[in-house]
Symmetry: C2
Subunit: 242 residues, 2 copies
């Protein structure tokens, strides 16, 4: 091959850590699938260990390339303990309730990602400012240019954490009622799938809005009733252009 460009891997290596042991047909290791699940979410749950005790903290996050970022108070025990430590960052979307004719086959449809890496505090000032702007713009495209920039005190009080995804896996269930063959006729239990959607409501404006302020153009996709995962994916593409 004459093209010397080394392409980025399109999938995560499968290892003892991220390999799905059960329901392996639901497993996804390709980055396109993993990224799509991550970029449609605002909140993740991060597992970490303090003195041998597991903690699971919900927090807002976003992705840039193979890096995941989140933030917290510099005074937070969780944030201080995470710096340099291995964490597991998990995202899940609940998509449906799935009934069945046996308890065993009741289920939910979902999309989830588990990602592991060593967390580190971003200490370079310019990098930190750039990332904090991206954190705002990732939800509200273009907003970082409209708001007051961080003060020195705010920057000091905020720890921005990042991690390179060392490994990750996605998991998707997206199927209808699925019963044992003999139960369809034998069990007279009405069964259905109920979709679940997280939706945006009507904006409640700040009571101290300056008079005459228009809704910024970057909020164009914030239409009441829009599924949050679709909205976040759109904001993401507007901000990062992919």
């Amino acid at each position: 091959m004459s093209d010397m460009t080394i392409a980025a891997p399109v999938a995560f290596d499968v290892s003892e850590v991220n390999r799905l042991r059960r329901r392996h047909e639901r497993g996804h290791y390709d980055k396109a699938t993993v990224y799509a699940i991550l970029d449609a979410a605002l909140v993740c749950h991060i597992a970490y260990v303090i003195d041998g005790r597991p903690f699971c903290t919900p927090t807002a996050f976003w992705r840039e390339g193979d890096h995941l970022y989140w933030h917290g108070s510099s005074a937070s025990r969780a944030i201080r303990q995470q710096d340099g430590a291995m964490v597991c960052l998990t995202v899940s979307h609940l998509d449906a309730l799935v009934m069945a004719r046996s308890g065993f086959h009741h289920s939910v449809n979902y999309r989830s990602v588990m990602a592991w890496g060593h967390a580190h505090a971003v200490t370079d000032r310019e990098e930190k400012l750039r990332l904090m702007d991206n954190f705002i713009d990732r939800v509200y495209p273009g907003r970082s240019t409209l708001i007051r920039q961080p003060t020195a005190q705010e920057l000091k009080a905020t720890t921005l954490m990042g991690m390179a995804m060392e490994t990750a896996s996605g998991k998707i269930r997206n199927t209808h009622v699925s019963d044992d063959e003999e139960d369809y006729a034998a069990v007279p239990a009405w069964s259905a799938v109920y979709p679940i959607t997280q939706v945006l409501g009507e904006a409640s404006e700040c009571a101290r809005q300056l008079p005459g302020l228009a809704v910024p153009e970057g909020m164009a996709n914030f239409v009441p009733g829009t599924p949050l995962d679709e909205l976040l994916a759109k904001s993401y593409r507007r901000t990062f252009g992919r």
Copy 2:
């Protein structure tokens, strides 16, 4: 006091584990608040440790008294590792996106609970059958009486995990746009709160429904457009009568 009844504690003890260090005004240790957040949720995230590495797994769960329950495949590494181990079970509800005139004051409204305890597999057959019925009924009131009961093989293949909550804490943010005083007039950035609601969609019936089957009475609250947290809280009360 002549009344010798020992009342159950109405709050979790506050310790180094569950005490909120930051934003302590958002902390709630009373059981009524913690239970209400738990009982309005179907999915939790469980943190546990395997060979020193944290894992964070999303799974369906429910509460009975001070016990939390979930289940998994008996062949699952996660489930086998959790038995006897300390876990952190976390529930979060995302209630709103909160804009601000500075990056620092952007936030989200939420309700969350972190609960710790030692997980254990429920091995008593009768207890396990009773709990698995409750797991179904907790979402779909009365449904356990309509479906086929578990086979010996299904019971063996399913591990039901429980934990007594040894400690827990709730955290709630439920406020509007909140900026530094000087920013309201100085920063012309349109700001608002957008409510976020997880809602139930229209039932998609199983294509192999037996003819003439009516929707069970227990599904009366499954009205499209109902917020999932309200629906789950209603199902919970119908099933457990409190």
